[in-house]
């Protein structure tokens, strides 16, 4: 990959890639490491990306795999399934969401388990098509759609619970630890 291509890849994708990393890692330091490691691999393994149109999906897929590798290493990610959210989509309007504090939305997002959060973030960042998501997550396209549907419902339920301050969320909470994994030094 020559310098111009690399600069383009950084300019075009680093923001969304970092946002994706933030949604996975949950803390800024680990997200930065994930982003940097993905671009380092782009430099060192650029031979794998012969088609320039694939750089974006390659970066997202690589970041996700690095994350999974860290996660496997740490074994600190309990996977909890969403339960009972798909039939309980709360009433929520786009206008209400627009007026919401960003923190409320992000907090609700982070409470969604990773298997559902990952395609949802990719969907909102418009980073990958659902077919590319299916390849990246190594699941059938129908599963991507199903997870998206359930994740959307969970997010709406989560923000509604926070805004109405009922204290009751039908989203299964995850481990409240803020640091999901430790960096290798």
């Amino acid at each position: 990959m020559d310098e111009v291509d690399y600069e383009q890849a950084v300019a075009l994708y680093h923001e969304d890639l970092h946002r994706f990393a933030l949604s996975l890692a949950r803390n800024p330091d680990d997200a930065r490491d994930l982003t940097q490691e993905s671009y380092c691999r782009l430099l060192s393994k650029s031979g794998q990306v012969r088609d320039k149109s694939k750089v974006k999906s390659w970066l997202f897929t690589t970041l996700y795999r690095i994350f999974l590798g860290w996660k496997r290493h740490e074994q600190r990610f309990p996977h909890l399934e969403l339960a009972g959210v798909e039939h309980e989509i709360p009433m929520l309007t786009p206008e209400a969401v627009e007026k919401m504090d960003v923190g409320v939305v992000l907090e609700a997002l982070q409470q969604i388990d990773e298997h559902h959060r990952t395609p949802l973030v990719l969907f909102y960042l418009q980073s990958l098509s659902y077919r590319q998501m299916a390849e990246m997550l190594d699941v059938p396209v129908g599963t991507v759609m199903s997870r998206l549907s359930r994740a959307k419902a969970a997010l709406r339920a989560g923000v509604t619970a926070r805004v109405t301050n009922t204290g009751v969320s039908n989203v299964v909470p995850l481990n409240p630890q803020r640091t999901p994994f430790s960096k290798s030094s």
């Binding site: 950084v10 430099l43 060192s44 031979g47 992000l106 418009q126």
Partner: protein, 245 residues
């Protein structure tokens, strides 16, 4: 496809992506055009998606992230061409030549030790796993890092070379001695400067005037100053290197 099935499919639809041309969505989109209830739901769904997407994009990013990513290129990009067989062969040749040189100079143990040092440093210059352990630091941070990692924080580079700044650094071990690697990139070239205590390389017979050599892909220069030996391995033309030193 009924309305419920269409809703399920359209929840995954991204209008500005390649999904617009994906046959998977064609039937659901056609149904939405015919069914006013489904059309209204779809419009609301897209508005909701846009609202959530804007919240995700509102997340602030580190201001220096882009610069850091571009900086990484300086240390990683070199791996691509140095990993090519031609360069690896050249590097191997350097090692063999230096090893052969060391053998011929067996009587002069000190000189042989210096040869071994050059071989080891050539190897360190080629090592990209990773090439540096810390990068993107200003001068005080660099000195602090070297202090904490028992390197050579009091190194002094020739002024014209120092002007270009140190890109990154690492500590390498050679025969039980700690050697500081300072990585620099400028003018389209790349140089690694290795700093070691002169006492760790006693017979090198060096002076403050740089001693130049050609070691395979590298132009090297070695000099001694204030009890330290500096060994530079770079891909600059010799004339340019002489100007800097």
């Amino acid at each position: 496809m009924n309305r419920e099935e269409a809703q399920f499919v359209l929840q995954a639809y991204q209008p500005k992506s390649e999904d617009a041309h994906d046959p998977q969505f064609a039937e659901a989109l056609a149904l939405a055009r015919q069914d006013p209830v489904l059309a209204r739901w779809f419009a609301d769904e897209q508005a909701m998606d846009a609202a959530f997407a804007s919240k995700l994009r509102a997340r602030s990013l580190p201001s220096d992230l882009k610069a850091q990513l571009l900086l990484a290129r300086a240390t990683i990009a070199r791996r691509a061409w140095w990993r090519q067989p031609l360069w690896l062969a050249a590097a191997a040749s350097v090692g063999l030549l230096l090893a052969f040189g060391s053998w011929r100079q067996r009587k002069d143990r000190s000189e042989a030790q210096f040869g071994e040092f050059r071989v080891a440093m050539a190897s360190a210059a080629l090592d990209m796993s990773p090439h540096v352990e810390a990068f993107g630091m200003d001068a005080p941070e660099l000195k602090q890092w070297l202090t904490e990692h028992r390197g050579h924080p009091d190194f002094v580079l020739p002024p014209k070379l120092a002007e270009h700044g140190v890109m990154g650094c690492k500590i390498v071990e050679w025969q039980g001695h700690r050697v500081t690697l300072l990585c620099m990139k400028f003018d389209g070239g790349h140089a690694d400067i290795f700093v070691v205590n002169a006492a760790d390389l006693p017979g090198a017979s060096l002076s403050t005037a740089p001693r130049f050599a050609v070691d395979g892909p590298f132009i090297t220069a070695t000099w001694q100053r204030d009890g330290k030996i500096y060994h530079l391995a770079g891909d600059f033309p010799a004339d340019r290197l002489k100007q800097l030193l």
